[in-house]
């Protein structure tokens, strides 16, 4: 019995030895894995990358860009690219000849490509449809095809500066194409070379096409309003023989950009045809300028908020000339005593300087910053500039006077309209944005952008008081009378700024930036519109003459399109239906229908709002979020279509 026990313990001991050996082996394996995966990782990874780079990258299908009504602004189509595997070509001369003539490329160049030692060469990428057909019919040995994405902008006239464009390698270079590159690009697909038993390379498309597709963007832009804005801007620039200009339309309650136009414009399909690349810049966000009198709005808002002035306070406007230190300020017209409201209405610089004096530089400086000047707004577009506000230490009394009427500082268009929107939006400054949603290939929302309050700049009370004064600007003998619209109260401010002389200091005579910024309807603002005309060269140059009428045109059409009725016309006038087919789009001949947007997950309210924008008649069933719809997403619809949406 004792022997037996002894045996058992020896047995246990031997099993224990085996167990411990195994544990040591596993520890060794773990250490080895740690060595390979952590310590030597960089070395091995570099080798891996080198091996994989031999594989050829192909351009994936980029995401689509839609406007807020799901109308396509940028699409990618799959086109054929043709490559060659030189080792497999039987007759290099003949093959190069055939390809050269079919694709109109240089034969010599092809021949030298085909005689190279490489296992893979591109012959021509992103062929036209006809070219692709032709080459495929030739069926030459050693020549192969692969589908690549190619960018196309179906409305080449519209929104070029917002959309931007992509380069030859399908990388976004400007606009949202650049800003959202990582979402839109899609995973780079690869062709992998496999060596078979005979050492030949076989190309093999290893990637999952669906997985590599880029995501789609839905912009806040409304194609129709964008079109109206561009049309009116171009008209004004050409009538005034101006150097250029810009228009921005914003929804003040959300910060959504509904339209953003630059003149001169460019066509993204042919972006490379413009010799001066500065034309690609979206100057609304990239360029800063002296705002001039529109800036008085913020001075007044600050003065009200701080309680240093009331609308009826009187200021003596020095009969048109007012000396401060070594400088003399001038007004366009000579004024005596004016109330604060009248100073804005007639845009007196001397009056503004006196208000500024009463407010004081510290407080004014603080409000300028609070309105968002001197800092980027954070809009989702590339190359934003922050403008420049001189530091408080550098503010002399002259500078304070200058800044009170918008000189000696520089602001961007997007800053100006955002700050102005804060007045329209009860004092809340919103972050401007241009992309509403990022959606994947199956329509699932990947990212949703919501209105974002940056800060409350002034009280509602102040905003209301400023609005009341701004309404006067567009009434009889106000500077902005030409912006007035029958049946609406318009709140706005004109601006006429001399252009600073960058070389000699001071200002260039005869060169102006004429502007108007305003919102309508004044008491329940639907749209905020900024109009800037750069260097008008015929006739008058005042903002009230050059820019205000542009505002009026855009606002009139825009309000009608959004279904906002003039006073007293409720139910008697149907909203103007801006049918894109009735407008001359020239390069846009296919635009006589819309496609049904995907409504899934949307609320009843947002569906109705969307329907109003398209416009489309909608029958609603149930409540909650849209679950099912007819017609289906992407189907063609006309204005007669009756859509049905079921909510759950």
């Amino acid at each position: 019995m004792k022997k037996m026990k002894e045996n058992t313990s020896w047995l246990r001991f031997r099993i224990f030895i085996v167990l411990v050996s195994f544990i040591f082996v596993f520890i060794a394996i773990f250490i080895r894995a740690f060595q390979l995966q952590v310590l030597e990782r960089d070395k091995l990874k570099a080798l891996a990358d080198r091996a994989h780079l031999k594989a050829v990258s192909i351009i994936p299908k980029r995401g689509t860009i839609y406007d807020r009504g799901m109308r396509e602004l940028a699409v990618s189509t799959e086109v054929e690219s043709v490559y060659a595997q030189p080792a497999k070509i039987e007759n290099i001369k003949k093959t190069s000849g055939l390809l050269a003539s079919a694709l109109s490329i240089d034969r010599k160049e092809l021949e030298s490509k085909f005689t190279s030692k490489k296992s893979f060469v591109w012959v021509k990428r992103q062929l036209d449809f006809a070219e692709g057909e032709q080459i495929q019919r030739l069926n030459i040995q050693g020549i192969g095809f692969v589908k690549e994405g190619r960018r196309f902008y179906p409305n080449p006239q519209i929104a070029g500066h917002i959309i931007g464009f992509v380069g030859v390698d399908s990388k976004g270079l400007e606009g949202v194409e650049l800003e959202y590159e990582e979402y839109m690009a899609g995973a780079s697909a690869r062709l992998i070379g496999e060596r078979d038993a005979h050492g030949n390379e076989i190309l093999f498309d290893s990637t999952d096409k669906d997985a590599s597709k880029g995501m789609n963007l839905i912009l806040t832009i409304d194609k129709t309003i964008q079109y109206i804005a561009e049309k009116e801007l171009f008209k004004a620039v050409s009538n005034n023989k101006a150097k250029g200009g810009m228009v921005v339309v914003m929804d003040p309650s959300t910060g959504e950009i509904l339209a953003m136009a630059n003149a001169p414009h460019f066509k993204p399909n042919n972006f490379y045809e413009y010799s001066n690349p500065s034309i690609w810049r979206n100057k609304v966000v990239t360029d800063a300028f002296e705002p001039g009198s529109t800036f008085k709005t913020f001075l007044v808002a600050a003065a009200f908020e701080e309680g240093v002035a009331k609308p009826n306070d009187l200021f003596f406007c020095e009969e048109g000339s007012y000396g401060v230190a070594d400088r003399v300020f001038h007004d366009v017209k000579k004024f005596g005593w004016l109330s604060l409201a009248q100073i804005i209405k007639h845009s007196s610089n001397i009056g503004a300087a006196k208000i500024g004096n009463r407010l004081g530089k510290d407080r004014f400086y603080r409000y300028i910053n609070d309105f968002g000047f001197g800092a980027k707004t954070g809009i989702d577009l590339p190359g934003e500039s922050s403008g420049s506000i001189p530091h408080l230490r550098g503010w002399s009394n002259v500078a304070l006077g200058n800044i009170s009427f918008g000189q000696g500082i520089s602001v961007t268009g997007i800053q100006l309209i955002s700050a102005f929107s804060a007045i329209a939006n009860h004092g809340y400054l919103m972050r401007p944005y241009i992309v509403k949603e990022i959606v994947d290939g199956n329509g699932n929302i990947v990212k949703e952008f919501r209105p974002e309050v940056i800060r409350k700049v002034v009280s509602e009370e102040t905003a209301r008081k400023v609005t009341a004064i701004l309404k006067e600007v567009t009434k009889t003998d106000g500077t902005g009378i030409k912006a007035s619209i029958d049946g609406f109260d318009v709140a706005g401010k004109t601006g006429t700024a001399q252009k600073p002389d960058l070389f000699q200091g001071g200002y260039v005579s005869g060169k102006y930036i004429s502007s108007f910024v305003g919102f309508v309807p004044a008491d329940n603002p639907e749209l905020v519109i900024l109009v800037i005309i750069d260097e008008p060269s015929v006739g008058e140059f005042y903002g009230g003459v050059v820019a205000a009428p542009v505002f009026k045109e855009i606002a009139t059409h825009g309000l009608a399109y959004r279904g906002v009725f003039p006073r007293g016309t409720h139910d008697t006038i149907k909203p103007l239906q801006v049918n894109l087919s009735s407008i001359d789009f020239r390069e846009d001949e296919h635009e006589d229908f819309y496609r049904m947007p995907d409504l899934k997950g949307k609320t009843v309210r947002s569906v109705l709002r969307l329907a109003r924008e398209i416009p489309l008649e909608v029958k609603v069933f149930g409540s909650g979020r849209a679950a099912y719809q007819r017609p289906l997403p992407g189907e063609r619809i006309t204005q007669d279509t009756l859509a049905e949406v079921w909510f759950k």
Binding site: I15, V18, F22, I23, A28, V38, K45
Partner: protein, 367 residues
Amino acid sequence: MLRLRDVDRMLILTTTALVATGLIMVYSTSYIMAMKKYGSEYFFVKKQFIFILIGFLFFIIASKIDYHFYQRWVYPLLLASFALLLVLAFIPGVGNEVGGARRWLKLGPLTFQPSEPAKLAVIMYLAYYLSTKKEKIKTFSRGFLPPIIMSGLFIALILKQPDFGTALSLGAIAIILMFIAGVRLRHIFSLVVFAMPFLYLMVSRVDYRMKRMLTFLDPWKDSDGAGFQLVQSLIGFGAGGIWGVGLGSGKQKLFYLPEAHTDFILSVIGEELGLIGISSLVVLYLIVLFCGVRIALKAEDLFGQYLAIGITLLILLQAVVNMAVVMALLPTKGLTLPFISYGGTSLVVNMIGMGILLNIYKTENRR
């Protein structure tokens, strides 16, 4: 809650985790190749899934059969598996030749690897023989020679296929089992010394084995030729890093790594799931090891103890050798990773082994 004492539940859970990991990794490693060669990305994974179902069936059956059954049937089982190996070795036309080696028997549309059940049969035999000899185990003629001759016969037939890796691992299992049973160390050492020249001859005589031996020492020397596979395997580990490149995103399996779904599946796990994935797998195997040893220690008789150790060795030895090989710690052998690699026979046999382990545990707990 799972307690450490619930060896049976732990064993079932671990086995399930291992085969599930295997199924996922077989898909990840094979779908592109399967798509290309067989027109369906699910070609291998579908078959593996069926193997797993069959494996679980056998697992359940084996766990219900009292393991003393094998004690009585050990010789018929041994004879049957020996016969299968003989048929494969000497009757032409019945074997499925792949890359110059005949390791598979054709059974209609199925193929079957006789060396896998043979390993299990030899383990049963050794457990039976060693457990009945008690004191005589210390003697040369009764304790040492018979099991050596019996295992040697099997090893010789497996070598003839040739399947060097399986032969060696069977030899190792036999030696370790004999060591545990108390065969004199001096006998075992003399056997190893005796076998060395033969081993050397076998390696040096066959060109590719010599190459494998040498490349493992420095795979980078000939990274385009003999060391290609190994270098690609190491690159896979390196590319994975700590967290891995993500399931299905590995690049090495795209023709850089031959046999990614069988012998080199661990490299793809290293690439896609990183050090985290490798460590988790190591932990799973360690659990199998602990369960096996625990069951062996508590088994009610010597036969049960040896059988449990044998089965644990069958799985663990192959696991560590495969892991060591793909990380270039050992020369390349044609061994797969138990429960993970693609392959029906070894999966089913390993599942039977787990079933037997479970039965030994249940028997001991019934007492």
